[in-house]
Symmetry: C2
Subunit: 137 residues, 2 copies
């Protein structure tokens, strides 16, 4: 990896951390800054169908945040691939959530796609899915 690519990778990893931090803080404005404000952006929450467009996706975060008391993420196996003005991240998500006095934990895996927009890496796709079983291992 060139030094320039290393620098870009650091910026993308920072954008990815900002996504999980916004989620942990249940901060809708921070989540809005993470995403590209565009009708083409896509989001697939664990166990859910595809949502298209920033407006609909922000509605989904509003509903998720309203239904969550506290949540924390341990991001595992982070990998960043660069291709020009796009970057593709995969990582595991070890989730601990509090809901109605109970603690729930879950493992999910995510594909996050970012696009360089006016100097910032903005999320254009988030696809997270539950990890329940192991295939091909």
């Amino acid at each position: 990896m060139t030094e320039a690519d290393y620098e870009v990778t650091k910026h993308v990893a920072r954008a990815n951390r900002a996504f999980y931090r916004a989620f942990e803080k249940l901060d809708l404005e921070a989540m809005q800054r993470v995403w590209l404000d565009d009708p083409s952006v896509r989001c697939i929450h664990p166990g859910s169908d595809l949502l298209i467009g920033a407006e609909r996706i922000m509605d989904s975060w509003r509903a998720i945040f309203a239904g969550t008391e506290a949540i924390s993420f341990e991001v595992t196996d982070l990998s960043v691939e660069l291709f020009g003005e796009h970057a593709w991240v995969t990582n595991g998500e070890e989730i601990t959530a509090h809901h109605e006095g109970e603690v729930h934990s879950a493992k999910t895996v995510a594909t996050n796609l970012y696009r360089l927009h006016e100097g910032d890496w903005r999320m254009v796709l988030h696809h997270a899915s539950p990890v329940a079983r192991h295939l091909g291992e």
Copy 2:
């Protein structure tokens, strides 16, 4: 969309159809031709953890094909986005599978990423996840 982009989109959509056709035919050689033969490629089967590298991913297809009698896909809501030598596809998958004399149906949603390699669009990421509940709708 320019005429050139329209042509490229057709090629990507054809690669995406070849993926589902290889799956329906349970044809491991065809599936191998769909993927880029590279240690960086990634695959997340529904409910499963991330697999990295063509070899490990082909092992997973071998296991899935061995455990499947017959399967068919209806691909819905296909969307193709181009960015240079990469293309990003999302689509729904209405699945009908036969196993031990029983018919099972499921709905999943997939993110498929393709890279132009020696004139062919090759899969570099497949992330499929079950659709069970609806958020933000």
